[in-house]
Amino acid sequence: MATVYVPTPLRRFTGGQSKIVESAATVGELFQKLDGHYPGFSDKLLDGEGGVKRFINVFRNDDEIRALEGLATTISEDDKVSIVPAMAGGR
């Protein structure tokens, strides 16, 4: 089961949970499953053209998935998947 780190802006969908444990073969499948549990979740992440929105980064462990296989990036048992959106706040 991989652990998904949910950023604050998306916790509205997950009942406030910051970490979700889910098993899936790829990042894409993982998001699909999460969308099943938390409707609307993947809309916030995906650009509708088969990719992740450009102001959001998704990491498998330390690595951004664009540098891997994108949504087809495989995940295994102990992987950590982090969703990192751009934030502008500073004041």
Binding site: Y5, T8, P9, D62, M87, A88, G89, G90
Partner: protein, 423 residues
């Protein structure tokens, strides 16, 4: 025990150690041999001039401090004094500690100078500075040299708000020579929950003026320059030129892209951070400097090639922020700034630090430079500053960049913004 006079003692010491002439040392160094050179004279002697790249350990502290500089007992350690006598005696003390390759410099520093070899006269901390920064200078990574670098450094803060406040306080306390602050906003009561540069009596004042008073009280030595204007494509180069480092604490996307692009074009390292509710992100964007072998890392556009559509990502003004959060994140920015200015440790170049204060986890994720990046890539297509409001999907305005508390995107979307945002 034999009774020796001073000449006999020195004679004996010299018979037990290796000695090099200044030219021998110089030749070995030029051959790129790694040699630890220790000046064991008194501070006033060191201050009047010393061999370049030598470390200063007065003889009284030699055995106590040598391991901080060279723990390897078999590595070559050259020690020198003024004329080669004190160093001959001191060499034996290091041998007692197991150093097998201790060399005393024949003729000491005088011999070095007489051989017409180059030496360095250090800039010195004055008495007040010596006391004020003593907790810094006793750190080997900083020392007098590092502190002097800080005193000569110029740092520009974008924003004197949540992130800028703690960063400015610590950078001023650390003795950064010049702190520039860009902020045209005034202090509002709702700022005081987190913007610790300002107090109750500052409400209604310009933030840069309030900041200047606070910083001067902490460290009167620091020169504070306020820029009471929004940073835009028109004035960014003018404001930023001459600064050694920029620390970003702005609150909107157009300013973030503008500051990133300008820093890349000017070659200034940018310590970037942003906060949202309970979470923070910190990273360092280091432009490449091939001429001084600085490889450089990714930039903001490598991480976030496009901004989110207006209203898609909420601001702190809409969603709230835990007041202490910018305190942590801005302080981390100040640490990164000091590391870069002094030149020690591993800055967050190519790494994104993610802080979640709800479960208090700190994680670092890898950020790669995008070779196709329009600004820092191998074939840049954006080579001058653009209209960043337009880039971020906002109506162009000369005053929208670095907008005050209510961000431009919030204005555009009015009260519906909070419904459309990610949260």
């Amino acid at each position: 025990m034999s009774r020796l006079n001073r000449d006999q003692l020195v004679q004996m010491a010299k018979s037990q150690i290796i000695e090099w002439t200044p030219n021998q040392l110089d030749a070995r160094r030029k051959a790129k041999e790694a040699i630890t050179v220790v000046d064991i004279r008194e501070r006033d002697e060191w201050m009047q001039g010393h061999i370049p790249q030598s470390v200063f350990i007065p003889r009284g502290f030699l055995e106590l401090q040598i391991e901080q500089h060279q723990p390897d007992r078999d590595a070559p350690v050259v020690i020198y004094c003024a004329g080669g006598v004190r160093s001959a005696l001191a060499a034996r003390n290091l041998q007692e500690m197991g150093y097998t390759n201790v060399i005393s410099l024949i003729g000491g520093f005088n011999g070095w100078k007489n051989a017409s070899l180059g030496f360095k006269v250090p800039k010195v901390l004055n008495e007040e500075q010596r006391i004020r920064y003593s907790r810094h200078t006793m750190l080997q990574e900083i020392g007098d040299e590092g502190q002097l670098k800080l005193l000569e450094s110029k740092v520009l803060l974008i924003g004197a708000g949540g992130l800028g406040s703690p960063a400015a306080l610590y950078l001023a306390a650390a003795g950064v020579g010049q702190i520039g602050i860009v902020d045209y906003d005034t202090v509002d009561v709702s700022n005081l929950q987190r913007q610790v540069l300002h107090g109750q009596s500052d409400v209604g004042r310009y933030k840069v003026e309030s900041a200047e008073d606070t910083l001067r009280e902490i460290n009167p030595e620091v020169k504070v320059i306020g820029y009471k204007e929004p940073i835009t494509s028109h004035n960014a180069f003018e404001i930023m030129s001459g600064y050694d480092l920029v620390l970003n604490g702005s609150d909107n996307f157009p300013t973030r892209y503008l500051v990133n692009d300008a820093c890349q074009m000017l070659g200034i390292p940018l310590v970037d951070a942003s906060i949202f509710m309970f979470e923070g992100q910190v990273t360092v964007y280091q432009p490449k400097h091939p001429e001084s072998a600085v490889e450089g890392g990714p930039c903001y556009r490598c991480l976030y090639p496009d901004p989110p559509p207006p209203g898609e990502v909420p601001s702190c003004a809409e969603a709230g922020v835990l007041g202490v959060l910018p305190g942590i994140v801005g302080s981390i920015q100040a640490i990164e700034a000091i590391k870069l200015l002094v030149g020690f440790g591993e800055p967050l170049i190519g790494r994104l630090l993610m802080i979640d204060t709800t479960d208090m986890t700190f994680r670092t994720l890898k950020v790669n430079r995008n070779t196709e990046c329009p600004v820092c890539g191998d074939h840049p297509t954006v080579t001058e500053l653009i209209d960043y409001e337009q880039f971020c999907g906002l109506p162009s305005s000369t005053h929208a960049a670095d907008a005050p508390e209510v961000t431009a995107e919030a204005n555009v979307n009015g009260h519906h913004a909070a419904e459309k945002v990610l949260a």
